[in-house]
Amino acid sequence: MIAISLSNVTVSFGDFDAVDDLTAEIPAGQWVGLIGPNGAGKTSLLRAVLGLLPHSGRISLDGTDHAALTRRDLSRQVALVPQTPVCPPEMAVADYVLLGRTPYISYLGTETVHDIEVVAAIIDRLDLGHFVRRPLRTLSGGELQRVVLARALAQQAPVLLLDEPTSALDVGHQQQVLELVDELCRHDGLTVVAAMHDLTLAGQFADRLLLMSNGRSVAMGPPADVLTEHTISEHYGASVRVLRDECGGVVVVPTRAHTRGSADTGLTDDTGLADEASADARG
């Protein structure tokens, strides 16, 4: 089952293509990590899938062409946790999460008892019960992130798009939020597409990674195949070591090609270093 199928998708701003002829398939029930350097087009791709940006090419959701879906249908299919959510400071958490029910409320209607029950269950599940009445402005970054996730989950869409869901969070909260999404993915069969900058975390949680660079898809596959020192240095321009942890996961460690003492010698041949490092790691 294919949840999202993208064929030759191009998103243009003027004559600049932020997403350039991208073709990929996102299998239902899987977690696909969307990685790539700043400006690679990750957000643009997600926005196109959400119908917020015009695109050429074909996007279909669960077999239905994007063009055949209304805004409301789309919002029942795909939910977004944005990179920088707009949070009305005085809105109460409960009211904010209830906004997620909008796709199911008629144009001029109001929430039904069912909507409130759905939201109450999600609030319970995300352990937000003790601050449902608090205004958003009083929440910490981590709490806010969970609340935004709760709003997206209230949409009960089979596909969840996350744009840098953990960039504002500390290590503990990063794991907490990602574990939660992982559980939803495993137990509820949610399809997850998460744009992430932390390659180690991306590798740990995603079933597959889609690496974008300059708007193109340059690699897609299991994390261990995509996260190689070669591809990372090529597309991120970074020098890293890719290590394996004991559970078969991949750890991406940035390296400095030189020590302080020899800083004035400039860059050393980091490819050599990387080769050595991977030999270390594998051996």
Binding site: P82, V86, P89, E90, Y96, L98, Y107, I116, A120, R134
Partner: protein, 366 residues
Amino acid sequence: MSEQPTRVTVEAIVRADAPARPAPARLRRRWLAAGVASLASAMVVAIAFGPAGLPVGGVISELVSALPGIEVGDGLSDRQAGILWQIRLPRIVLGALVGGMLAMSGAAYQGVFRNPLADPYLLGVAAGAGLGATLAIAYGPNSTTWAVDALPLFAFAGAFIGVALAWAVGHTAGASRNVATLILAGVAVAAFLTAIQTFVQQRESDTLRTVYGWILGRLSTSGWHEVLLILPYVTISAVVVLLHRRLLDVLSVGDDEAGTLGIRTTRVRLVVVAAATLGTAAAVAVSGLIGFVGIIVPHAVRLVAGTSYRIVLPLSLLLGAAFLVLADVAARSIASPAELPIGVITAFFGAPFFAVVLRTNRRLVQ
């Protein structure tokens, strides 16, 4: 005063969460009652004040007798009844309609544009209406030869033309995605229309006084004529805007996110702006440019009762009405028998009142 937002849904969730808990007080109903009560008391004060003192008991029995099927006997002489029915009440009702409309449109504009400084006169409404009124005063048909007074019609048309121009200019500049562009287009259109208006006003300098009198706002009535003139527009506008109260809350997360929630934001914006403008144009047509109400009333409501548009829109309607009715009492009585322009009163009393609300309630001031 609540330290928490007062949406009924919050209560409902807490109840759904813990069914054993007794239902907490519904603050929203209390605020609604407070709004209705303040409008009613403002009206009572306004009936009692005036050059010809009317006995309160008489007024009450007169009003009660007017209800179908109830007869408590005459409390007022015929002359007093005439003053009540043909002079005082129409003016009070007009003040309530105009005040409620301006305050609610202000709240609606603030929601649609997500800008706390947006007011009902944004997007060229005021400038358009001002130009229309000036043209009517300078060149319009004499009101004695025309069956209807041309000024409200001209002002109404001017207000709509102003907004239509702003919308057209904004959209050619790509404002469908960017609200700020639309506001800027409104600024440009307003400047242009004001330039024409000033030009006309200078050329026909004998109209200066009348034009200024209109611009500063006034509530003057000839019987129920003005009330009946604007009632349909105000009703349509209020109903449409109030029906969008939940959608304005959805818009508060921004266009993109509202879009991902299934809302067609441009359409919602167009409908709400059109409705709010219709009501504003009608209000302006009969009352001139009464400033300040559209900003201070909604913000006072937000500070005191909560920021959800489910609260702000209906309460602004009620409290805006009460505020303008009281402002009119002041306008009539301060320099009696002369009348002050009501726009002067709304600013003179509104600004300090607002400052007090700001000071005593810092909840919104981060």
